[in-house]
């Protein structure tokens, strides 16, 4: 340690002692001039001497002098701040002003509906699976017991690709892919985009999200099917929800059903709100021909399947009047669903 550095250490302890003793702004200012004054402050003068030192020493002393100066400056400012804060003239912050915000993000309403629906089914033991969006006719139709020359194949006007293949018109091909790869018991959900040759309007788009569900096990019956979907509906729309199954036709389920829900609520002001029956999904018991197509014995296993559109559910649940709003990505629209 050089002589200068040890002098600096002495100065430091002396100055810090004086700092503790100082009680007013004037005393602090006097202290600053004594040690850090530009003209003949005691630390400043050591700093001014640096140029005349040999390089090695210059570096060591310089660093130490800077350190001491910084420490003292910080101590003085801190004391000054403390004195000012207690002064009678100082006004408080205008706490009525808003704080600093950050950007609000949010999930798309379709994602939000999908997640809520999935969460309910996941609590009933379903797990998520997926499959490709470009498919073969076999997966999209044939394996699902839908012959291409049957009018049922028309009901979903399919988008074909040049060079072969098609865009899946429903998520049901995932049923086939899952059953090919796994043996029962099967309890899956398959969310994903599906495609139809539909022009854009307030209720149609050439692609939309769909959620498929499939259960296959020994002893699965129509009662399990009805109970599972009714349980879902009551948990999604609320305990008083009425659930109605109507016979319908899908080539890959039998018996087939459309599922409708209706909710009648008495509002706090006494008025009664009735949603009327609204269709939420198509469903049914897995057709034995579908099980046979994937090598599962329909005499031993049975199951049920369902498909619904989270976009339609979101529109209905949150009052979105036009499907095109879902795809504009207008931030003013998306922000409404951000929280």
């Amino acid at each position: 340690m050089t002589e200068l550095t040890s002098r600096l250490l002495d100065l430091e302890s002396e100055a810090l002692g004086a700092l503790d003793a100082a009680a007013t702004g004037e005393e602090l200012e006097a202290l600053r001039i004594t040690f850090l004054g530009r003209k003949d402050g005691r630390i400043s003068s050591i700093l001014r001497m640096l140029g005349s030192l040999p390089p090695d020493e210059r570096k060591a002393v310089g660093a130490e002098a800077n350190r001491v100066r910084d420490r003292l400056e910080a101590g003085i400012s801190e004391r000054l701040a403390g004195l000012e804060g207690s002064g009678p003239a100082e006004a408080g912050l205008d706490v009525s002003l808003p704080g600093r915000g950050s950007w609000v993000g949010g999930l798309h309403p379709v994602t939000r509906a999908l997640e809520e629906v999935c969460a309910i089914f996941e609590s009933m033991g379903f797990v998520r699976a997926r499959g490709p969006e470009a498919e073969t006719e076999w997966y999209n139709f044939v394996a699902l017991n839908t012959p291409l020359d049957h009018p049922a194949a028309d009901e979903q006007d399919t988008l074909y690709l040049e060079g072969g293949g098609l865009l899946r018109s429903h998520t049901s091909p995932v049923q086939i892919r899952v059953m090919q790869d796994h043996r029962p018991p099967i309890r899956i959900l398959a969310p994903g985009m599906v495609y139809r040759r539909d022009a854009w309007d307030a209720t149609h788009a050439p692609a939309f999200a769909q959620l498929e569900g499939l259960v296959v096990d020994e002893g699965i019956t129509f009662v399990d099917f009805k109970a599972t979907l009714a349980e879902f509906a009551r948990r999604f729309w609320g305990p008083g929800t009425q659930v109605r199954l109507r016979p319908s036709f899908f080539p890959f389920t039998e018996p087939s059903a459309e599922v409708d829900v209706r909710r009648i609520v008495t509002l706090p002001d006494g008025t009664v709100s009735d949603t009327g029956w609204t269709e939420i999904m198509g469903a049914g018991m897995v057709d034995p021909a579908v099980l046979e197509n994937v090598g599962i014995d329909p005499e031993r296993y049975s199951g049920f399947a369902f498909g619904m559109g989270p976009g339609r559910i979101a529109m209905r649940a949150w009052g979105i009047p036009d499907l095109r709003l879902l795809h504009d990505s207008d931030v003013r629209f998306l922000r409404q669903f951000a929280r």
């Binding site: 997926r130 020359d149 096990d217 019956t221 009662v223 018991m285």
Partner: protein, 800 residues
């Protein structure tokens, strides 16, 4: 499918439900009613009238000045319909009359001429969609008679939605069978006014058959499994009587003449399409069912002269096609006013044949709609006999004693085994044999056996298209029992064998992260214009949506333009979706990849009174990109390489992220012009990240002892030549710094006065720490020297 409630009640006399009750019952049976339309409601004031005279309005080319006998004297009416002319019967809405939709008729002056009433179109009367002219009535009427009564319109029309597996419901008989109290047994065909049943005796043949006056030859038995024909002579073609016209109008049909109307009546009543030919226009008194030959054409009933697609199934005479089998008749052999001899066809066609044919021609008719779903093979004689009876009653004449019936095979009832135990196994509740019998027999099924262990169920013809297997019968049992009557009690379940796809966990992790960072999730579709995709749709709806995207960015950037145009300055969007690439080999499916795309523009933070927020810049983007790369590829050490020449990004402000040489992401500042930005808009930044092809399971975190001893920091201000990638130095520093060097961070960048030309001064902070002791300067200094030596040797970098 339009259903007349009045007709239905005549078929099922026990049916007393209101239209609303019928609609509820039909919905519960699987045939929901889309609309209940009271016919004749709101047009009680409309009268039958006769146009006595119609001449051009002196002051308007398109208007006619009509003298109309409305029962209470002749009135003048100005009419704009092109079909108005003297002599026709019309529907007159007189002054003071109200029409559906709230129109109130008043005496008016139209271009200087008085008009006292309005002549109505179908649409104005709420009877249909036709609005091309006024409704012309055919038949005997009395001027001034109430329109609703004169046409027997007091009825309710149900628009029933019928699924494609239930062709039997495409008729009043089929709907009545579902609803009638006793089912099939409770049905009876309404009597034909003036009708006398007359059934020909059938001359049968496998490929052909003939009578004394005509021949039928079926060359395509597979596609036309059965063909019945009968001949009527001496018919007088004229408008149908009011009861028949009313029937057709009630279901939205338009009366044509008594013969054609008779065939349509049977179509709506029994579901069997029939066709009437003018026998005198059939050359050689021969009907041949065969494939079209090259070059053949046919002018169909709709007036189109159609070249016939090769091998489409046709009904022909000795020379030429005279009808498109099961789809539409021909103009040439159409029954008209001069017709006296009629050949009635009642055929069964193979559904896929009719479907393929009508798709080739791009048309669909009431007949093809039923044939492609399947008509009752056992109901054909009855349908033909019914049609003959109606024609004889309305057009006179007589039927020839012999008809022909060409079919290689006679239809027999299929039988299906139904196991009683299996019913419970599928449906979950027990059904006794008696209950099964009670549910199925009213629909026309016959059950052989006791039900223990099962039945042999005979299927009626009208259900033979959809009831082919045991499961089809089980569905009928559930449907007739009523889905609402099944319990809905949850039972325990076994968990499945399918593992959750880890893709969804990654998707959720990225979503949660970006939402937390203040981004809104967008949803664009995969369709793009030709320049933005390589996978092509075969029949796109528009050119702008004719391909599938190869990248998410162009679509998302269009959303930025969209938002700019709506005045939104701060746009922070992300989206996850699929991109498509051509198949790896011809004939395979396109390749798919999930991508995350993100765009941001505007202020770094929302506006605040304390100061203006700086606009977002490249470093905001790069920070986000670092975060999402770490989430998607945990633990990976990517290299960040400058990206030049990208279509979307500005050179000098764009980066590629490589993992083991594979690009997993790219991003940067978007080139001006890519986004249609107003002057006030700030720079737009964007990136796109590819999901890993197989999403790895999440990495388990690993505990590391929390440092017990303080570390020593050393700052190095280094002179870095412009052009050198300063972000790469920490890697070298770390290697040279030894085991005690724990962290290297870049904390400062300065290129102002004092820094030599061609250099930047960059501050690197080195943190040294040992886990078992407090380090001394003596331990750290040599390590720093080592680092400096390496930097000078390997990179030519020295301290400032």
């Amino acid at each position: 499918m339009n259903i007349s409630v009045r007709w239905l009640r005549e078929l099922a006399p026990g049916l007393t439900d209101s239209p609303e009750q019928l609609a509820d019952r039909l919905a519960a049976l699987g045939a929901p009613v889309e609309e209940i339309l009271p016919l004749g409601a709101g047009i009680e004031g409309v009268r039958i009238a006769r146009v006595l005279e119609a001449r051009r309005h002196p002051d308007a080319d398109r208007l006619s000045l009509c003298q109309v006998d409305g029962g209470e004297g002749v009135v003048q009416v100005v009419c704009g319909a092109p079909n108005v002319r003297a002599g026709i019967w019309v529907a007159l809405a007189p002054v003071g009359c109200a029409l559906p939709g709230g129109l109130q008729i008043r005496k008016a002056k139209i271009r200087g001429e008085v008009s006292e009433g309005m002549l109505c179109s179908e649409r104005e009367l709420g009877l249909g969609r036709e609005h091309g002219g006024i409704l012309e009535l055919t038949g005997d009427f009395r001027p001034g008679a109430p329109f609703v009564e004169a046409l027997s319109l007091s009825d309710t029309r149900l628009d029933v939605e019928v699924t494609s597996n239930r062709p039997d419901l495409l008729s009043h008989l089929g709907i009545a069978r579902e609803l009638a109290p006793g089912g099939d047994a409770g049905l009876s065909l309404p009597p034909i006014p003036g009708g006398i049943p007359a059934t020909p005796s059938w001359v049968r043949g496998e490929q052909e058959a003939g009578t004394a006056t005509f021949q039928v030859r079926v060359e395509e038995s597979r596609r036309a499994p059965r063909y019945l024909a009968a001949v009527l002579r001496g018919v007088r073609v004229a408008p149908s009587p009011p009861w028949l016209q009313a029937r057709l109008r009630a279901v939205g049909g338009r009366p044509i003449n008594n013969v054609v109307d008779a065939t349509n009546l049977v179509l709506w009543e029994l579901g069997q399409p029939l066709h009437a030919f003018d026998l005198d226009r059939i050359q050689g008194e021969t009907v041949v069912v065969r494939a079209a030959r090259p070059g053949e054409r046919l002018r169909t009933l709709d007036g189109e002269d159609r070249p016939l697609p090769p091998s489409i199934l046709c009904i022909c005479d000795a020379q030429h096609p005279i009808a498109l089998a099961g789809i539409m008749g021909g103009r040439e052999s159409e029954v008209g006013e001069t017709t006296t001899s009629v050949l009635l066809e009642c055929a069964l066609f193979d559904p896929p044949t009719i479907r393929a044919g009508r798709k080739l021609l791009g048309m669909s008719t009431d007949a093809s709609y039923r044939f492609e779903r399947g008509v009752d093979p056992a109901g054909m004689e009855r349908a033909l006999a019914r049609c003959i009876e109606v024609i004889l009653a309305t057009a006179g004449g007589s039927v020839e004693p012999d008809g022909v019936d060409v079919a290689p095979d006679r239809w027999t009832r299929p039988r299906i085994e139904l196991r009683t135990a299996r019913v419970e196994r599928i449906l979950g509740i027990p059904f006794s044999p008696a209950a099964i019998r009670d549910l199925l027999e009213p629909l026309g099924f016959d059950l052989e056996g006791t039900g223990d262990p099962g039945f042999r169920v005979g299927v009626p013809g009208y259900r033979s298209w959809d009831i082919r297997r045991e499961i089809d019968l089980i569905e009928e049992i559930a449907r007739r029992h009523g889905y609402d009557r099944f319990p809905d009690v949850l039972r325990p379940f076994r968990p499945g064998t399918v593992p959750e796809d880890p893709f969804f966990r990654l998707q959720a992790a990225l979503r949660t992260h970006l939402v937390g960072r203040g981004f809104l999730e967008g949803l664009t579709l995969a369709f793009v214009p030709p320049s933005e995709g390589d996978v092509v749709l075969a029949h796109p709806l528009t050119v702008e949506e004719s391909r599938l995207r190869r990248s998410m960015l162009p679509g998302l950037l269009r959303r930025v333009s969209f938002n700019f145009h709506r005045g939104s300055r701060d746009v922070r969007l992300f989206e996850m979706g699929t991109v498509f690439a051509p198949p790896a080999e011809p004939g395979a499916l396109p390749r798919e990849e999930t991508r995350l795309a993100l765009v941001l523009t505007g202020g770094r933070t929302p506006a605040h009174w304390s100061g203006e927020a700086a606009p977002v810049d490249f470093w905001d983007l790069r920070g986000l990109l670092e975060e999402v790369v770490e989430i998607a590829y945990p633990g990976a050490v990517p290299s960040w390489v400058a990206l030049e020449g990208a279509t979307e990004f500005r050179d000098g402000s764009a980066v590629r992220v490589l993992l083991e040489g594979r690009e997993v992401a790219r991003g940067g500042e978007v080139r001006p012009g890519v986004v249609d930005a107003p002057r006030w808009a700030g720079p737009v930044l964007a990136f796109e990240l590819a999901f890993p092809p197989a999403v790895p399971l999440p990495m388990a975190p690993r505990y590391e002892a929390i440092p017990a001893h303080p570390g020593i920091e050393r700052d190095l201000a280094l002179l870095i030549p412009v052009g050198m990638e300063a972000g790469r130095l920490p890697e070298g520093i770390r290697q040279a710094g030894g085991v005690l060097l724990r962290e290297v961070t870049i904390f400062d960048l300065y290129d102002g006065p004092g820094v030599p030309e061609g250099f930047r001064s960059i501050g690197y902070r080195l943190l040294f720490r040992a886990s078992d002791r407090t380090l001394s300067d003596e331990e750290v200094t040599p390590a720093v020297e080592q680092v400096l030596t390496l930097l000078e040797r390997e990179y030519g970098v020295v301290r400032r």
